[in-house]
Symmetry: C2
Subunit: 431 residues, 2 copies
């Protein structure tokens, strides 16, 4: 039959006789006509078997078919404007490759624990399939954005000798005779590679041992972290808004079918275009206090506080200049108001919370040495990081975007656990 | 001055006055004319300061400049066919952003330990910069190959509940109240996602706690692992050779300058075009035995054995049908000769050894249950993996390609440690 074909390519093969392999998504029919909905991982296809027009033996096989049986079908591709892919198959033959007895995930409702324990099978379902195709598109868009703008991918290590934001949420492992920690962020490494390549990014898994079961947290999640030499806080916000516009608009264009499957209100995503509104931390606090009078000025925002702010805007909103007291040691203080940092977070629309955190980094070796000591970090672990300041230090800024929160936002998912193929959660490390 | 410019873009700005920021790569000169070689991460640029034509104060600043001082230069871009980027700068002003006193990496020879301890600075050197730009190109080519052929990226988890190829080289961590292991391969997960998406791949870091200090081994390395539903061993070799040709030829085209810096003999890489020669394990053993009579038929190949085979060919060579006794439990046995598996390795040219390992997977739940028990693995850890066979099982095949070995091969590096920004080796987890 020549080259293997997939359902998503069939529009280009109308009138041709083709062979397809896949799994039974559904079947129905009568004595004279039977329908098989074939799933091959790229789409769904209705295969129509007319008694008398198809092989008699194939027609008889329908009894044996069950949801998720693997099959080979042969037939002719016909245009069918009413079907999602625009085609259906006038089928001739059917062969069963393997049965599927009592497939556990049926069209009835299942509990979350059951579905998560069967994640390896749940992925075959329509909504999960759609969400993860959106994830793949966003991941490709993220890389294309940076690769297309002169950034060099410089992967950060997972094993690190030190902790950059507190040790309570670190995973530890024995690294031969020493200890190592699993990376929570590649940022410090990107600051060093920015001096070698000018504009850099890393994109890989990061880890937080958080004992929280919120809808926004995963133990293991992917983060993209660009860093730009000679950029400041304002350059950073410009880069971030151009970036978020690009990945959202490209996904809207390339994954329209999947977003429809997910019943996402895409009119809200069409508005995600730069520039995005910007609030000083002080302005953000004023907004929060009107609805949450208990909020203490100087504190970090809770999920509810973020929602109060984002509900005021149709676009993602930057909050910049978070207080120095609540930010990491590497954040640069504003020279004009040192109680605030040159930091920025980006809050997504529709209550999806923070998707970006970043800002301008401290470039003075003296200030950093002082802060490392104030934060009670081990200076010897950071000698290499201080070297970046000792030899030709430079203003620089960058940010981190969490892939899973972005996927959840773009797909309109209630919980971040459906935004990654095999979620790792507090209490879940299987399958 | 408008939008920030980078050295690699200057060809498009001949005759224009520009501002550039970067680091001093070198300086030389006389009383009347001084040269500054500027490095900005995208290339090197000769900036020429003529006394009388440039700002007097800038001319005087040359005394203070040291290797890796960060600077701002302003001048006019001139065509200069003799320079690598085709341009030089008629400079007007020079500003020092920050000094660099006693930069530790000088043009003199340094020992490996010293360079590895200063990896964060060593990355600024010409050869390291070139090798990692090749790495970034290969990583982009890998993704574009699969994304462009209908594969869906489905990231595998790093935390796994079980070991698939023996526990001696596993990193273990406390996962709250349980144990978890760091992934050595995403393959088993890709087999599950192949049933959901048809053609899939993952591309991320993997970990092996090997106490070996060879030039081919890293503790932490990136691996790309495609998996195709309804593919067999021969489809797999076809995919692998088309893939390797694509990534090598694209890198030759897009990273010619970097390969020149690395003094790579690119005529050898130009020959890397599909199809690649294929040897049955038996044929490979015959070749090895002629030069290594001690080799025991049935054993796996050592590095030296791989080199004996690859030295016979100008292209990478597949060895397929490795003995069942030395392969993992999931490898499908050949029905016609069950003492051999439907496995294949791809050996790179020029003695670079195995860059790909893969093959067709066992699709029978009964055979797998038997093998899991024979290999003394915990069946409960693999229930989800067995489910992939219980519900519509299907022939499938895939492979893993190690990024760092491929970078080392394409760049002609002697040791794999220079193929990743921050190598993790036995005894090295810093910086």
């Amino acid at each position: 039959m020549g080259k293997r074909l997939y359902i998503e390519d069939l529009k280009k093969h109308i009138g041709e006789k083709v062979e397809l392999k896949g799994w039974v998504y559904n079947k129905r029919g009568s004595k004279k006509i039977k329908f098989l909905i074939l799933r091959d991982g790229t789409g769904l296809l209705q295969c129509v078997y007319f008694q008398g027009e198809c092989e008699e033996e194939s027609f008889g096989l329908f009894e044996e078919l069950a949801q998720e049986s693997s099959v080979t079908v042969v037939g002719t591709v016909r245009e069918e404007p009413r079907s999602p892919g625009g085609v259906e198959l006038s089928a001739e033959t059917l062969k069963i490759i393997a049965p599927a007895v009592d497939y556990p995930i049926t069209p009835k409702e299942h509990g979350t624990d059951f579905l998560m324990a069967n994640r390896h099978l749940w992925l075959r379902s329509k909504r999960q399939h759609a969400a993860l195709r959106v994830r793949a598109e966003l991941a490709a868009a993220i890389r294309d954005f940076f690769d297309g703008r002169g950034f060099t991918l410089t992967d950060a290590p997972i094993f690190t000798p030190s902790a950059c934001e507190g040790t309570s949420t670190l995973f530890e492992t024995k690294y031969f005779d020493e200890k190592a920690y699993l990376s929570q962020s590649g940022q410090l490494y990107m600051e060093a590679t920015a001096a070698a390549f000018g504009k850099v990014y890393c994109f890989g898994p990061t880890f937080r041992a958080e004992k929280s079961k919120t809808r926004r947290h995963l133990i293991e999640f992917w983060m993209v972290e660009p860093e730009v030499a000679f950029a400041d806080l304002y350059d950073n916000m410009e880069l971030a808004e151009e970036f978020v516009e690009y990945i959202v608009q490209r996904t809207l264009k390339n994954r329209a079918e999947e977003l429809k499957t997910l019943e996402r209100d895409t009119t809200k995503l069409e508005l995600i275009k730069a520039p995005f509104p910007r609030l000083h931390y002080r302005e953000a606090v004023d907004i929060i206090k009107k609805e949450n009078p208990e909020f203490v000025n100087g504190n970090d925002f809770g999920g509810g506080d973020e929602t109060i702010i984002s509900s005021k805007f149709e676009k993602p909103v930057f909050v910049h200049h978070f207080p120095t007291a609540i930010k990491a040691f590497y954040m640069k203080q504003d020279e004009k108001e040192p109680e605030y940092t040159m930091s920025c977070d980006l809050l997504a629309t529709e209550g999806y919370g923070e998707i970006i955190g970043g800002g301008q980094r401290e470039e003075s070796v003296e200030v950093l040495e002082k802060k490392i000591s104030e934060h009670k970090l081990s200076k010897s672990d950071f000698e290499w990081y201080l070297d970046v300041r000792r030899y030709g230090t430079f203003p620089h800024a960058g940010f981190g975007l969490g892939l899973e929160r972005t996927v959840a936002w773009v797909c309109g998912l209630k919980h971040v656990r459906e935004s990654i193929p095999f979620p790792r959660l507090y209490g879940r490390n299987y399958p």
